[in-house]
Symmetry: C2
């Protein structure tokens, strides 16, 4: 499998998981949280999937396509280790769908980041929220959901928030 093949499989898995997540939270109120904007492609996909939801976006430094830059009031600009705790005031226990994809291509670094960020993301999720994540995340408050057809085990991850101990 070439790097082109594996890149395509990753993007296809990402899209399938986002599509499924949007369907799964169809009956839940609450905003979307995009953890990392990057070039803005998945943000653009999320806003087409969820045209009626607020979409908050974390990003360290804007480098997205000009068409894919969120309105400033939805932008959490800075290191997520700072911006996620600061967002609790607005978002605690409210987010219906969150998406984490560090997109570095470095699996070990992605997992390490996920370990660090999970405790900051979970309090923002409402009960039954869906978390879509490229790195695997282990937490007693998350239950892995079956992946969409065609997505190989471990390539991408879908979780349901099952516990609301950290919610208000």
């Amino acid at each position: 499998m070439s790097r082109l093949d594996s890149f395509l499989r990753r993007l296809e898995a990402q899209r399938s998981c986002l599509d499924m997540a949007a369907a799964l939270v169809g009956g839940l109120d609450g905003p979307v949280l995009e953890l990392g904007l990057g070039n803005g492609r998945t943000y653009d996909h999320l806003r087409q999937l969820c045209p009626d939801r607020e979409i908050f976006v974390c990003e360290r430094r804007l480098a997205a396509h000009p068409d894919c830059i969120p309105p400033v009031e939805f932008l959490l600009l800075g290191d997520m280790r700072d911006t996620l705790p600061a967002a609790r005031l607005r978002l605690e226990g409210r987010v219906a769908l969150a998406h984490l994809d560090p997109g570095t291509g470095d699996i070990a670094a992605s997992r390490a980041l996920a370990v660090e960020l999970a405790p900051l993301i979970l309090p923002l999720l409402r009960r039954d929220a869906v978390l879509v994540s490229e790195p695997q995340i282990a937490s007693p408050d998350l239950v892995a959901l079956p992946l969409p057809g065609g997505v190989a085990e471990g390539r991408y991850h879908l979780y349901r928030r099952v516990n609301s101990r950290s919610s208000p």
Copy 2:
């Protein structure tokens, strides 16, 4: 269609066209010419498709994944407007498969570049060579080939070199 959708379609079209081109030149001797290395994903795909061919790669400045950097003797480093004319000594009338993808996402700029580069690429192609190109290229020495199934007209291009007036 989101930017994620359209990016996926472009990459899928690219891969399908490269796969078909490699099959089409199966009976022709000659090296491959990758016009732009970028992150090295299509170079990696080409070397898996054509393990027995030399693959020459043009690039202005190396920024590829370390696993996808060609051996130095196959690297034409610099502006293609300089390196392609300089490569005539080694490659004139020899290349069996060439691939051009400026990958800027800017269609007008890609087409303008293709207009400028076509007269520099064509002399390197052998008769019946296949040129895979993201931008459309108009030349009396190129005949458009049917695209692989699933690739929308205009998304990517496949050409056969039909005339060898510029070959030795």
